[in-house]
Symmetry: C2
Subunit: 415 residues, 2 copies
C-alpha cells in the first residue's frame, strides 16, 4: 500500500472541500430538498435563445479560430466589450489592462499565486466569500478578519488589525473586499467607506482586491445604480485589482469572467494563467461576446433584477411569517444572499443536519469566518429556487429551528 | 509611482512568458509568416457540423444544468465515456477516479500544486514539454533532466541522477514523461522501456506523471496502436497519474481534458480544482460528451491520422529536398512535431530572428531543456499549416539557414 501522504505538498495537506460545494454534493444525492446552499443563478433566466442562435453561427466553421487555442489574455473583441462595460461602471481602463479568466474563481486563484507567499497576510471581511478564502489559503497565506458593521468594514478595527500585524512584523499584501451585495452577508458598502478604504490603502501602501460579481443585480426599490460605484472607479494610483463575471448575469456554465488592474501585475497574472490553463474556452468567450454585442445585458438586466428582487421578497415574507422574533436579518439590497442570525445559543452547524432531515439546506455561517466565529449565522441563497420552493424551504427551516429549540431533533434523527 | 515588485510572490518573481506562447504573439502581429511554432491542431479538421448540431440541442433550454455550475470532478456522463475510452487504451479505471480538467495544462498545474513544495525535484526528459516545465516551476520545484536516446529515457542516466539527488538529500517526487510522440521530440517510448520505468518507480517508491495527448494520432505506416499502450495500463500499485485531452482530437477551444489516478490524490486534486476554477465549462463538456457518444472519434480518427501523416510527409520531403546533409531528424511516428538538429555551431536562437525575417517561425530547442542545453535543436510543428504552406515554410527555413551560414543575415537584418 502506497503512503500518498508523503507525496503531498504542504499546501495540499491542508486543502479541504469547500462548505458550499459540499452542500452541492448533498443536493445531488437528495431527492426533495430545497437548496438555499450554493449561490446558483436561476436557470430559466439564462438567455437560451440568443446563445443558441449565436452558437449556431459561430460553429458554422467559417472562422476556425472559434475552436482553436486563443490568446491567454482573452478574445480581443471581448476585451474591448469589457472595456466599454467597465466604463459604464465608471472605471476607465483600456482593453489591454483587462484579462479574461475562467470564472472569477480563477481570477482569485491567479491573484493569490502572483501576490502571496506562504505566511503573507490577506485582510478579509468578517464574514467573507469562501471561494476567495480557499484560494488564498491554498497558497499558504494567513487570513485575518476585519469586522463589518451596518456601515461596512469597521475602520477602527481595520486600523487596530493593521497596527497589530505591523507590530508582529507580518507581511501584509492586500485587503479583499466584496463591496456590492457581499457574499455571504448581502451588504452594500457605503460609497464614503469605499473612498476611506482607498485612502487607507494609499496611506499604508497596500493593494485592494475588489470582487464585484453582483453589481448589476441591485434591487431598484432600495438601491440606485450610483450606490454600486466600484472602488476601482476612484483608484487614481493603481492600487485596485478589480474582478467581475458573467456567471450571475448570463450563465456560469461559460466560465467567463475578467479582471482589470495595473499592467505590472497584469503581465505576471498572464504568465500565471498561461501555466494554469493556457486560455479560457474560445467558444464560450465568443458566445458571451456576441450576446453582449446584441445587447442581451441591457435588455435582460432590468428583468433579472426584478426576478431576484421578487425572490428576496418571497423569502423575506416567508421568514417574517414563520420565524418573526426568532431570527434576524437585514433585507438584501441586491445579489443572491440573505444572511440570517439565529438567537444564541442556537448554532447553525447544529441546525444543519436537522434542516437536512426536514428537507432544506444552507451554508453554515462559520464557513465564511476566518476567525472561527459565525456559528450563530447562516447563508440563505434565494437565487435558484422557484418562489413556491422558497416558501416551502423557509417553512421547513422554521420547523427545523422549532425542532432544535425543543430538543426534538435527537428523536427525529433516530426515526 | 507604486513599486509593484514588493507585492509579488517569490514564484511570481520568476514567472516568464512561455517560449511557445511568445511565438503566438509574433504570429498575431505578422502578415505572411508560416508558423511551425505552436502545436495547434488543424482547424479545418475540427468536427464543426456535429458540434453545431449538438450545441443547438443542448442550448434548447430544456436542461438548465447545461449552463449552470457543475460538479468539480466533471460532468458525470462524460466521465463515464472517459472510463470507456480509457478501457480502449487498456487502462482499467472507474469513472469515479477520472476528473475532467480545463485542458491538460490545468491537469499539470493541479498536479504541481498538490504534489510539489518549493525545492522538490521533478525528473523530466531532455527535452520535455515547456507547459509542464512552467507549471512545475511556478510552484518553485527544481527540474532535473534525464537524457533520452533512440530507445527513450536512458535508464543508466536515470539511475545516476537518482543516486546523485539521494546523496544530496533532495526530495524527489515524480518523473514526468510523454511516452507517445513526445512534445517536442516526436519520439515514441518503446514498450519495454515503459515497463522499466514502472519497475524503477516501484523500486524507488516514486510516482510517474504520464502525459498522453497525442496517443490517438499515430501514423499507421510506421506505428501500430499496440505501440502506444500507456504506462498506466500496467500500473498495478497506483503509481501513475495519467493525463490526456480532447484538444488534439476534437478541438482545443473546448478546454476539455482529463486525468486519472489513485483516489487519495484525486480527492486532493479535486479540492485544488475547486479553488482554481470551481468546474470546467458545462456547455463544452456536454458538446464533447455528445460528440463522443455519436461516435465522432471512432469515425474521424483514421482520417485525422492520415491528415497529419500526410503533413509529416510533406515536411519531411521538403526538408530532404532543401536541407539534406545540413540538418538531421528522426521521422515522427505520430503526433504534431518534427525535432530538427542543426549542424553545430549553428544555434537555433541565432537562426530564429533570421527565420522570422524570412517569414517562418519555430520554437528554439533550448525552451525544452531544463539544463541549459538544446541550442542546436528546434521544434517544427507540422500540424496546423496547409501542405503547400509547409513546403513554403521549409523553403524559407532553408534560405534562413543558408543566410546564417554565409553570415548574410547581418546585412539582411539592416535592409
Amino acid at each position: 500500500m502506497i503512503d500518498y501522504g508523503k507525496f503531498l505538498s504542504a499546501n495540499a495537506g491542508t486543502m479541504r472541500e469547500s462548505a458550499i460545494r459540499q452542500m452541492g454534493s448533498v443536493l445531488a444525492r437528495a431527492t426533495d430538498v430545497v437548496s438555499f446552499a450554493p449561490g446558483y443563478p436561476a436557470e430559466d433566466e439564462f438567455p437560451w435563445l440568443v446563445c443558441r442562435e449565436v452558437a449556431a453561427e459561430l460553429l458554422g466553421g467559417s472562422d476556425g479560430s472559434v475552436l482553436q487555442y486563443g490568446p491567454t489574455r482573452g478574445y480581443q473583441p471581448l476585451r474591448e466589450v469589457l472595456a466599454t462595460l467597465m466604463s459604464d461602471r465608471d472605471v476607465r481602463v483600456p482593453a489591454d489592462r483587462i484579462m479574461v479568466t475562467s470564472g472569477s474563481q480563477q481570477g482569485l486563484d491567479l491573484v493569490a499565486r502572483v501576490l502571496l507567499d506562504p505566511g503573507d497576510v490577506v485582510l478579509v471581511e468578517l464574514p467573507s466569500y469562501t471561494g476567495a478564502i480557499t484560494a488564498f489559503r491554498n497558497v499558504g497565506a494567513s487570513l485575518v478578519g476585519v469586522r463589518q458593521s451596518a456601515q461596512g468594514i469597521d475602520l477602527d478595527h481595520l486600523g487596530y488589525v493593521c497596527s497589530r500585524l505591523q507590530a508582529e512584523g507580518r507581511q501584509l499584501k492586500f485587503l479583499y473586499v466584496v463591496p456590492n451585495f457581499q457574499n455571504p452577508s448581502g451588504s452594500l458598502l457605503p460609497l464614503a467607506r469605499r473612498r476611506d478604504l482607498l485612502d487607507w490603502a494609499h496611506r499604508h501602501d497596500l493593494l485592494i482586491v475588489e470582487d464585484d460579481p453582483y453589481r448589476d443585480l441591485f434591487f431598484s426599490d432600495v438601491t440606485q445604480v450610483e450606490d454600486t460605484r466600484p472602488i476601482a472607479a476612484d483608484d487614481d494610483d493603481g492600487r485596485v485589482v478589480y474582478l467581475s463575471s458573467f456567471s450571475k448575469t448570463l450563465a456560469p456554465g461559460f466560465r467567463v469572467a475578467w479582471f482589470a488592474g495595473p499592467e505590472p501585475l497584469l503581465s505576471k497574472l498572464e504568465f500565471a494563467k498561461q501555466a494554469a490553463d493556457l486560455c479560457t474556452g474560445g467558444l464560450d468567450q465568443r458566445i458571451v461576446h456576441a450576446a453582449c454585442r446584441r445587447g442581451v445585458l441591457a435588455a435582460h438586466l432590468p428583468h433579472l433584477r426584478a426576478h431576484y428582487q421578487r425572490k428576496r421578497d418571497v423569502m423575506s415574507e416567508a421568514l417574517r411569517r414563520t420565524l418573526a422574533g426568532q431570527v434576524e436579518w437585514a433585507a438584501p439590497r441586491g445579489g443572491f444572499f440573505l444572511w440570517l442570525s439565529l438567537r444564541e445559543p442556537l448554532r447553525s452547524d447544529v441546525l444543519l443536519p436537522v434542516a437536512r432531515a426536514h428537507g432544506v439546506i444552507f451554508v453554515v455561517g462559520s464557513a465564511f469566518f476566518v476567525n472561527g466565529e459565525g456559528h450563530s449565522h447562516l447563508r440563505l441563497s434565494f437565487s435558484a429556487p422557484a418562489p413556491e420552493r422558497i416558501t416551502i424551504g423557509v417553512e421547513r427551516l422554521a420547523a427545523a429551528i422549532a425542532a432544535v429549540a425543543i430538543g426534538d431533533h435527537v428523536g427525529s434523527g433516530r426515526s
